[in-house]
């Protein structure tokens, strides 16, 4: 759980990103996140080189594995990314990449805080 601050100053909490991760796959989450981080770095490079087929290939892969690991947001963003490669929308591609980076970082923070609790 992470705490969020609403406009009225009321503290509330929202479910963690990884609350949907199947128990069977929980031990594989650190590797999963490392691989996605590498994917995003490759995507960033491919955006700078305007290499749309490569971006599409990696995005397709993330669309196929995100929700399996309980992270449907990653699959959704990757699907959006695949579409953006068709319209050659580089600005949107950068935005999506940033959002994906944020999700991965948030998950990594959750992992760290879980370890601290243990």
């Amino acid at each position: 759980m992470h705490v969020v601050l609403y406009e009225g100053g009321v503290m509330a909490s929202e479910p963690s990103f990884m609350s949907l991760t199947p128990k069977l796959l929980r031990p594989h989450i650190p590797d999963f996140l490392n691989r996605r981080m590498s994917d995003l770095m490759e995507i960033t490079e491919a955006i700078s080189e305007n290499d749309m087929p490569k971006i599409k290939f990696i995005a397709h892969k993330i669309r196929g594995n995100g929700a399996t690991y309980g992270l449907p947001i990653l699959s959704e963003l990757a699907g959006e990314m695949e579409k953006a490669t068709e319209t050659l929308d580089v600005v949107h591609l950068k935005e999506i990449t940033k959002r994906m980076f944020d999700v991965i970082k948030e998950c990594e923070l959750e992992l760290v805080s879980e370890k601290v609790k243990l």
Binding site: L24, L25, H28, D31, R36, K61, A67, T68
Partner: protein, 233 residues
Amino acid sequence: MRNMEEQIFCLEDDKSIQEAIRASLPEYNVVCVGTIAEAERILKKPEQFQALLIDIQLPDGDGLRFLTDLVNDERFKKMPIMILSARTDISNKVMAFSYGAEDFIAKPFDPIELHARVASKIRLRNNGAATAMKRVLGDIILDFSRQKAFRWLNGSEVDLQLTHREINILSLLTRRLEQIYSRDQIMIHVWGESFVSDRTIDSHIAHLRHKINGAKLKLETAKNFGYSARVLN
């Protein structure tokens, strides 16, 4: 007795998906490769596999084209071949089935659904051969064709009156003797998509232990994890 026959072949280049498949199919030995070239090499001896899972988008080619090669090969005629893909538009699904795939599993998949689909295909394939099989575990005989377990006692077979679920639990735990199976693995194997608590699993194990009490087959507890089976000499 170790059952090392149940192997699944998987052609999938995404390591995370490979790991998810392995975790979803804990009772099978899943052999994964990432390219068609490697697949061609391993599949020179296809008889060792019970089922094949094939991705469409691969680094060195198209999984659907590879599928057509397999279905045209006599050795794969009776083997369930399932396509696993994130290309979930109708045309790809129809093409996969028309090329000879037995199922189309959409990525991202749910591990429980993947298990249910693969196990079902393997069960159908083995219908007859596997169901006629008996497994001898010391003085216990598991008879899959009759879904019964017997204990050899004073020269005759005594029916242990196991329930269907108890047979399934024994079937899993005795696939690989002394291998520890987690409660999650037992849950998926026995209850499929239904969620049951750890207590329910423990309670079934307790009943099973009671019914096989005194036999050479022992069910052992791996504390806070699961169970394994062992046959005393």
